[in-house]
Assembly symmetry: C2
Homo-oligomer: 420 residues x 2
């Protein structure tokens, strides 16, 4: 049997993990690896002839069947993948940003050339999620996803919770340990999770979600006081990537911090672990959890995709029919102002007297019910710290409530996840 011939573009942590893992796979042969710097020392012994600093030695190499793209980012990855597809190659990629921004274009191109693009590693690292949704869960109408898709922010929030530490202090520690980058923006502002939920919800809902319609808030404003208060009320705070779709194809897709009940599985997903909770019919609710990043977990997904191609390569004219992506319908975006949520609101009132009545009245006037209200004494300066959790109400109204609380300081507003 002919081996499946691979070219790998990008040989950082994940690429190295993929190469090591493939050493035990006799059906697959790595032919060429494109790197930035040929002379950089590597963790693995490679014949010099295998390395190149010119990716087109892979992309234009007629003997290569599959291009594994592991450089990330839009440019030049997009051009590499497009040219490779036109040259008849199948693609395995871990590039969440590229898929979120140009997925439709790339999948259409792949269909045109009868090639597949597989990307299990782009979403939730090692957790099996894309292939299960496309295959064994294919009979389902999935209507809701709640997921922890970014290890860096989950690490920071877990440490803030366990140590009672501030965001800034934990971020610094995470940077020192290599869990957060020097410029942490992509993680802490929720871009990474937004890329992932864009593609994940497109696949799960079988209709295209556009990145620009994904509402996004990071974790930089979460205070250690919010963590403590959430705990007291029976919650943890997590950066949740969520997506729901209704029967009229209205999709509400977002990334922001949420209070999640300690009774839910997601509350127990700590440090760099990721998790994806899926609800649909007929399945009900499932939760898949595991390592969201790292050399070996990500390699597990990349190699799984490679083996799926290998299994059918050369045996059929239309390979991996369930793994194709042709979602041409577009979901109707729901604006964040029009979504309904429960809210955690932390307020400092300048004058303790009458403040509860005032908050109660403002909310009542907008038909917003309160499910919890917490005030512990009054400060010496007569200010009062009040924590409220509302019942489900429209975001627009909550923004009006906050505007009307102009005499108070609103320390935090954090949405509260509903359901288990």
């Amino acid at each position: 049997m002919d081996k499946l011939k691979l070219g790998i573009i990008g040989f950082g942590t994940v690429g190295t993990g993929v190469y090591k893992t493939l050493q035990n796979v006799k059906e697959v042969e790595v032919v060429k690896i494109a790197v930035k710097n040929i002379n950089k020392p590597r963790q693995v012994d490679l014949p010099t002839s295998m390395l190149t600093d010119n990716p087109y030695e892979i992309i234009n190499n007629p003997s290569i069947d599959v291009v594994v793209e592991l450089i990330g980012g839009v440019n030049p990855a997009k051009e590499y993948i497009e040219t490779a597809i036109k040259n008849g190659k199948h693609i395995v990629t871990a590039n969440k940003e590229l898929l979120a921004k140009f997925g439709e274009e790339l999948f259409n191109l792949a269909e045109e050339y009868n090639r597949v693009i597989l990307y299990e590693a782009a979403i939730a690292g090692g957790i099996p999620i894309i292939m299960p949704i496309k295959t064994i869960l294919a009979g389902n109408k999935i209507t809701k996803i709640q997921a922890i898709l970014n290890g860096t922010t989950n690490y920071i929030l877990t440490k803030m919770d366990s140590d009672g530490a501030s965001y800034e202090d934990v971020l610094k520690e995470a940077q020192d340990l290599g869990y957060a980058e020097t410029d942490p923006t992509g993680d802490v502002e929720g871009f990474d999770a937004a890329y992932k939920i864009t593609t994940l919800s497109t696949i799960a809902f079988k209709t295209r979600i556009k990145l620009e319609n994904v509402y996004r808030e990071g974790i930089t404003k979460v205070r250690k006081e919010d963590m403590a208060k959430a705990n007291e009320l029976g919650y943890k705070i997590k950066l949740i990537a969520s997506a729901t779709i209704d029967e009229n194809n209205n999709a509400d897709v977002r990334v922001h911090p949420m209070l999640v009940s300690k009774n839910s599985m997601l509350a127990h997903i700590d440090y760099v672990t990721n998790a994806v909770a899926i609800s649909g019919h007929p399945i009900g609710n499932i939760v898949l959890s595991g390592p969201g990043a790292g050399e070996f977990p990500t390699a597990s997904s990349v190699v799984g995709d490679i083996l799926a191609i290998q299994a059918e390569f050369g045996k059929t004219d239309y390979m991996l029919p369930m793994m194709r992506c042709h979602h041409h319908s577009k979901a109707n975006p729901v604006k964040i102002e029009d979504t309904f949520n429960k809210y955690y609101i932390s307020i400092t009132a300048p004058n303790a007297i009458g403040v509860i009545a005032m908050i109660g009245t403002i909310c009542a006037n907008k038909n917003i019910s309160l499910s919890s209200i917490l005030q512990k004494g009054v400060s010496e300066d007569n200010t009062a710290d009040i924590t409220v959790i509302t019942e489900r109400c429209r975001e627009k109204l909550i923004r009006e409530v906050v505007a009307e609380l102009k005499d108070c300081t609103v320390n935090s507003i954090i949405r509260v996840a509903e359901g288990g």
Copy 2:
């Protein structure tokens, strides 16, 4: 496009769920359903011509492509499936007992006739587990599984824990609610979980595990006092189906109650939910959880298998290459006496004086370390209740310890799960 034509044998809860779910799947047509009693009222409207009480009207029907077997048990399911394969049909089944007892024989027959047997629904109901292991996780060397695979026993243990109730009381309640059968033996004695872990570990380890080598203990001896004590020590008690394999192909596969740390995901899997924790390389650790039974969750898996066949049907000579099962090597069974575990032991000693010294000496003489020891006062009759958790040691030695504690009453011995 021609529709994929199905015959369903058995039309109870799961069959009904499958039929309802397939109403939305235009690529698949249910041609015939075999039932015991044609005249029994059904939840769904079926044309009379679709029902038969003769399964051979399906098995011998040349227009049927796939036989969905949902009657369970070995006989007559085995004969139905064998004949159907010989007649050129693909098989989708939820029959865990049949696969555990005659899997090898059936898979060999299927290969001989170039047909596939898919069985996602047989293990962990709706949780995607078989297809992920065979496809996206295919690059892994899986070495450990810890799973909650039986909803009835997990329901009973959860209720015993939350209500402080006895096994007998909760069993009765579960029977009244329909969560446990009138004869609960198959569930509470661990047979159901043993069937499932036999097939699951065969697939995961890629070597055949034999049912007769699976050690099995049920939950009938778990006392409410053990539940309380476990809680105090930071554990929950769960019926765990576990499997490990070493580099020499020695497989230790078993079903028995275990103390699991509250820090582990499995401790939070409650009521009828199932979960499968998998460890391997390069993936690391993942946990998949969801509904382990029920009309719709099980239908999700059955329909997923049907759609996998539909996707490739008629398009290739060798369908679903990754889903084939040809594990001809046999694992070496490890006897329970030769396994190493941590143990929870509850002892009532007739005379409080010197008992801790005695237990300590007996264990020390066998080189067994104790990690926790708990005694709370002495009873009025001078007896003492003592709870011990040992460090990892050989089962054979623990049995000797128990024999030497002949002056005490050993109330319970329960193994303790290690790791997260």
